[in-house]
Symmetry: C2
Subunit: 335 residues, 2 copies
C-alpha cells in the first residue's frame, strides 16, 4: 500500500498538506488540492487507520462485549449496535463473554488495549466487581451498560422496562382469571431477571403470594427439574417464563407432562421466539426492543464522548405486550 509520503512526493507537496487535504482540516489552494487528489487516485492510497489512531486521541472504534452471543435477543442487540455505529462512521469490535467473568475481563482488556473510544457491555451475571474495578482507574474510557442494568451505576445504561412490563403482563393474566402462577424467574444475579421478578411481586397481593411458585434455579437442568416438580403438583393455572431459555425449558416440561397450552395451562414468556405467529400455540410474549436497545447504547456512548462530565443516564425502552392464544380462553375453575 502506498503511504502518505509517496502521495506527497508524487504530488510535489509535503505530507502535512496531503493530510490536511484528506481531513479537510485547513485551507489548501484548489490547485494543490487537485494535485493531491490526483496523486491519491494514482497511487491508490488509502488512509492507514492504525497510524492515524497512533497519533490522534481517538480510534473511531467502539468495543462491544456481549454476554451470550448465541441468544437471539443479544444477536439483535449486536445488530443494533453495529447499525448505529456504522451510521456514525465507527467500527465495531465484537467480543463475547459467554457469561464467563474471566472471559469478560479479558475481552475488556483487549478492547482497552486497542484503544476503543468507548465500550458497550452486556455484563455477565457474576462480573460486577472485577470489571468495574478494571474500568474505573483507567484512562476514562466511557462505558455504556446494555440490557443488564445496575442501580447506582457510574455508567450510562440502557435497559428495558422489565418491572413494569411484568406487572402489566401479570395484571392482564389476573384480569383473565388467573390466580396461581408458576414463575420461572431464572438466575437472580442477573439484574434483568431480578427486575422481572420484582414486577411479578408488584402485581401479586400479599395474601396471594404463598400460592405462587417461583423457580430461580441457575442451571438449566435444575430449572427443568424444578418446573417438572411444580407442574406435578398441579397448582398453577399459568406459567410465566422470564426469558427465552427459561421458556424453552418450561415448554419442554409442559410437553413432557402432557399439558396442552392453552387448554390445560396458560403460558407467557419474555423475549419470546421469532416468527411466533406462524406456529401453534402462538405464545403471548413481552418483546424486548433489542435492536433499538443496541442502537440507543451507541447514542449514549456518542453523547458521553461529547460531554464526558454529564451525569450518567439510564435509558429504559418500552417492551411490548403481544397477546396471543397461549393465554386465551381461560375458564376459571372454582378452587
Amino acid at each position: 500500500m502506498a503511504t502518505i509520503v509517496q502521495v506527497a512526493r508524487l504530488a510535489g507537496v509535503s505530507t502535512s498538506t496531503v493530510s490536511h487535504v484528506l481531513n479537510d482540516t485547513r485551507n489548501v489552494e484548489p490547485s494543490t488540492r487537485a494535485k493531491v487528489m490526483a496523486a491519491i487516485e494514482e497511487t491508490g492510497y488509502r488512509q492507514d487507520a492504525v497510524a492515524r489512531a497512533m497519533r490522534r486521541a481517538r480510534t473511531d472504534s467502539i468495543g462491544l462485549v456481549i454476554s451470550d452471543a448465541g441468544e437471539p435477543a443479544f444477536a439483535e442487540m449486536v445488530h443494533g449496535v453495529e447499525h448505529a455505529a456504522a451510521a456514525r462512521g465507527l467500527t465495531l469490535i465484537l467480543a463475547n463473554s459467554a457469561e464467563d467473568p474471566v472471559r469478560e475481563e479479558r475481552a475488556v482488556n483487549t478492547l482497552l488495549s486497542r484503544r476503543v473510544d468507548g465500550l458497550i457491555i452486556a455484563r455477565c451475571a457474576e462480573s460486577s466487581a472485577t470489571v468495574s474495578s478494571r474500568l474505573e482507574p483507567e484512562a476514562p474510557r466511557p462505558v455504556v451498560l446494555l440490557d443488564r442494568v445496575f442501580d447506582n451505576s457510574p455508567h450510562d445504561q440502557v435497559g428495558a422496562d422489565n418491572r413494569d412490563s411484568m406487572r402489566r403482563l401479570v395484571e392482564h393474566l389476573q384480569a383473565a382469571g388467573h390466580r396461581r402462577f408458576l414463575l420461572v424467574a431464572g438466575d437472580q444475579r442477573v439484574p434483568t431477571l431480578v427486575e422481572r421478578f420484582r414486577g411479578f411481586r408488584d402485581a401479586i397481593p400479599d395474601a396471594d403470594l404463598p400460592q405462587q411458585v417461583v423457580v430461580d434455579a441457575v442451571d438449566i437442568a435444575e430449572v427443568r427439574q424444578a418446573v417438572a416438580t411444580a407442574l406435578q403438583q398441579q397448582r398453577a393455572s399459568c406459567v410465566i417464563a422470564a426469558s427465552t431459555p427459561l421458556a424453552v425449558a418450561a415448554l419442554e416440561c409442559l410437553r413432557d407432562a402432557g399439558l396442552a397450552t392453552p387448554d390445560q395451562i396458560a403460558f407467557a414468556a419474555f423475549d419470546g421466539f421469532s416468527h411466533s405467529d406462524l406456529f401453534r400455540p402462538t405464545i403471548t410474549t413481552v418483546r424486548q426492543p433489542a435492536f433499538e436497545m443496541g442502537a440507543a447504547a451507541v447514542s449514549l456512548l456518542i453523547d458521553r464522548l461529547a460531554a464526558p462530565d454529564a451525569s450518567p443516564r439510564t435509558l429504559r425502552l418500552n417492551q411490548t405486550l403481544e397477546l396471543r392464544e397461549s393465554t386465551e380462553n381461560y375458564e376459571p375453575r372454582a378452587s
Copy 2:
C-alpha cells in the same frame, strides 16, 4: 496509561528489554525480568495494541463482513467466527453489508484500512465484481468467503453441501409419494440459493419437470404474491422453501390460503426456525451448521496466513436433514 518507556525507566532498563520480556522474544536474566515484571505491575502497564500493530506486520485482528446480520443463520455464523477468533487470540471487527454492495465495499475498505490480518466475507448478492477488484490488486490480505461460495474463486471458501442436501430432501419427499413440488427458490444471484435450486433439479426426472413450480422472485412481496398464485392453482402437494425468510413468506401464504400442514400440504424448509420442536407444526428442516461454518472460516484464514501460496480450498460442511411432522402422513392421491 503508562507506556513502555515509563516501565523501562522504573525498572532501570531499556525499553527493548521490556519489550523482550513482554514478548518473550529473547533471553533476559531472571533478575532483570523480575524487575521488569514488578515495574509493569506497579505502573499498571498494558501493551498498546495500536502502537504494536503500527510497528509489526500483523494486527492480530480479523474482519468479518456479513450480508445480513438480522438473519439468525448469519448471527450464528458471527457467533462461530467470534468464538474461533477469540480462541486464537484474534479480535474480531464486525461489519454488516445488509445485502448492499455499496455498504459491503465500504466495509471492506474500512477493514483494510485498519490492517486486519484477514477478511471473512459473506458476500451480498450483487457484489462479485466490485469487491473482487478491490481485493486483488491490494496488499495480499487473505480472504475467506463464507456461506456464499463461488466457482473458480481465487479465495478460500466455506459453504454447505446445499446441492446434495436439497437432492436428499427431495428424494425423501418423493419416496413419501410427492410428485409435484412448489419450490420457493429465492434470489438466483445468491450462490447458496442457486446450489439449492440445482439440487432440486438433480432430483426431478426431466419428464416431471414441467409439473414443478419454481418461485425465484427477489423481492419478498413478489415472492408472497407468486406463492399465493401458485397455491391457488392447487397443483403442488409439497412446498419447499430454500431459506428462512422464504419459509416465512410461504408459511404466511399457506396460512392465508387456509391450507393446513401437513394434512393438506406438506412443507419443508432450509435453515429453518429455532426451537422448531416446541411448536406445531414442527417443520422438516435442512439445518445449516452455521456456527461451525463460521469457525471453519477462521481456520481457513489461519491456515492461509501460515501458507499464503497454498492453492485455495473450498470447504463444504454437511447439513442435516431433520424430519418432522410437516412432511409426515402424506397420502398420495390418484391424480
